[in-house]
Amino acid sequence: MADSMADDQVPGKPLPEPTAVSAPYWAAVDDGELRMQHCADCSGWTFPPSTRCRHCAAGEPHWRPVAGTGELLTWSVVHQAPYPSYGPDTPYVVAVVRLDEGPQLMANLLDADEGALAIGARVRVVFEERAPGHRVPQFVLA
């Protein structure tokens, strides 16, 4: 597996392009915190960010921190990278995780031994710096 990139700057990898709706998510991530939108009406979580709750359509759900822990839903160990900035990382793991609060995210699972990957494996968020002051959430096995 690739060495951990967490908290090291990794030049060249794609940076997300926040929208007006998602900007609070990325601002929190840049500060090292994972926040998701929560609905006061139905208690549902909405991700990716939206202007309304995806469960009950109530307006403007508010941002709330999540614990950053969850479980591995599925993954692939990637041996052929789609673009050059990921080439040096091969083989690397792309995973989908489900946070304990419910929302699902795609991310890389860093430092993972392929033999330790299993559905339901516990994971926790880490933050990878991709440009000065700009991070993306990643996960490691907990």
Partner: protein, 392 residues
């Protein structure tokens, strides 16, 4: 259905490389082949369904392909549009055409495709990856098409206890079929074994190179008409029995389930529409961008039990001479994947089998064919049922 809609004629140009043709030019090449092969006059065609070109290539999409096809035919259709649902586009075209014919809105609808699948390289790789993933929440993580399908396959293997040998058995069986198809791109490469698949280089686990389809260029045309016209053109046409569709989240990371691809829902709707059961299916054409998909679809379409698809392949039941042949043209993995036109290949083959025109690979009993197609990253699903008699 009123007017007994049926596939009256199909033509597919051999998948390959067509450096002298752009995607629109390939459409015209398909038209030439089609009109040369069948006793159909352009003036009989009063409906045109096409798909945008340039979706995966540099330069952007052309969304008025139906107009250009109609112009080339020299007709003014009373029913026409370009439509897009990825690989599921063409099963939906046939369904929309059948509905138009049943409603009396058209008499003969030409469904046409042509596509180019750019090689993954420094420039196109990133564009395709961006197209296939959520640009903000998936793309930044080094994902592209094989990875997104691989995550469904990982989950399918874990849930069913299937192994990479089961995936590889799909590649092996499809190559056997390709050896019987004169136009299959991988025919010249000869037979392969499970060991060959396992020895091919890893792309994204659990997929090795030979678990992946072959990116090529090509195209096809399918003419849907009323039953009377279809019988005149084909003798034995492939009647439209019914279809079902289901459209799920585009972003893979947001799926509620990863071990199924949505065929469960679309096939159930198709069976209900056609008034038939899975036990009546004689031959299946299942969209196979990767080796995992036919396994999932065999199970989801109710053709084998949960977790039994690998055994179906390893026992030879899907192969020539088997009890329920699958992807009898070699599939996208051995016939060839023609980019945005790929969803047409399995319809052409499903129709040819029902029409009794599949040559060396003709299945002895082929009264009823199931065609399952998907688009996006397993997000859009369309199941098409074709038969040698009109729906009852």
């Amino acid at each position: 259905m009123r007017n007994d809609p049926a596939i009256a004629a199909v033509t597919e140009i051999p998948p390959g490389r067509y450096p002298d043709f752009d995607e629109l030019g390939l459409h015209m090449r398909v038209l030439d082949e089609f009109l040369g092969q069948w006793q159909v006059r352009p003036s009989e065609i009063d409906g045109v369904l096409a798909a945008p070109t340039g979706v995966l290539t540099a330069g952007g999409a052309d969304i008025s392909v139906h107009e250009k096809v109609a112009d080339e035919l020299g007709v003014n259709p009373r029913y026409a549009q370009s439509m897009y649902a990825g690989g599921a586009t063409y099963a939906l075209m046939v369904a929309r055409a059948a509905a138009a014919i049943a409603a009396g809105e058209a008499d003969a609808v030409l469904c046409i495709s042509a596509g180019k699948f750019p090689k993954v390289g420094a420039s196109s790789g990133e564009k395709i990856a961006r197209f296939a993933s959520h640009p903000e929440f998936e793309f930044p993580y080094g994902v592209y098409i094989p990875v997104l399908y691989a995550m469904a396959a990982t989950r399918y293997l874990a849930e069913t206890g299937s192994t990479h040998d089961d995936l590889a058995a799909v590649s092996v069986s499809q190559r056997e079929w390709a050896l019987r198809h004169p136009d299959a791109f991988m025919r010249s490469k000869g037979a392969i074994t499970i060991a060959d698949v396992a020895a091919s280089r890893m792309v994204a686990s659990p997929f090795h190179l030979l678990d992946c389809s072959v990116p090529l260029e090509g195209g096809a045309a399918v003419l849907v008409t009323g039953g009377g016209t279809a019988r005149r053109i084909a003798g034995r046409p492939a009647y439209y029995l019914g279809h079902g569709e289901a459209h799920f989240q585009a972003a893979v990371s947001q799926r509620a389930r990863f071990d199924t691809g949505g065929a469960e829902v679309s096939s159930a709707r198709a069976y209900q529409a056609a008034g038939i059961t899975p036990s009546e299916i004689d031959v299946a054409q299942l969209y196979d961008s990767f080796s995992s998909n036919p396994l999932m679809y065999l199970e989801e379409c109710g053709l084998v039990g949960r977790g039994k698809a690998g055994e179906h392949y390893r026992s030879g039941a899907a192969s020539p001479g088997g009890s329920l042949p699958v992807n009898t043209y070699g599939g996208l993995m051995s016939f060839g994947h023609t980019g945005d036109a790929s969803g047409m290949s399995m319809i052409v083959e499903g129709a040819l089998q029902v029409m009794g025109r599949a040559g060396e690979r003709q299945v002895p009993r082929s009264a009823t064919a199931l065609v399952h197609t998907h688009g996006g990253m397993l997000s859009e699903h369309a199941t098409l049922l074709l038969g040698d008699r009109a729906e009852g």
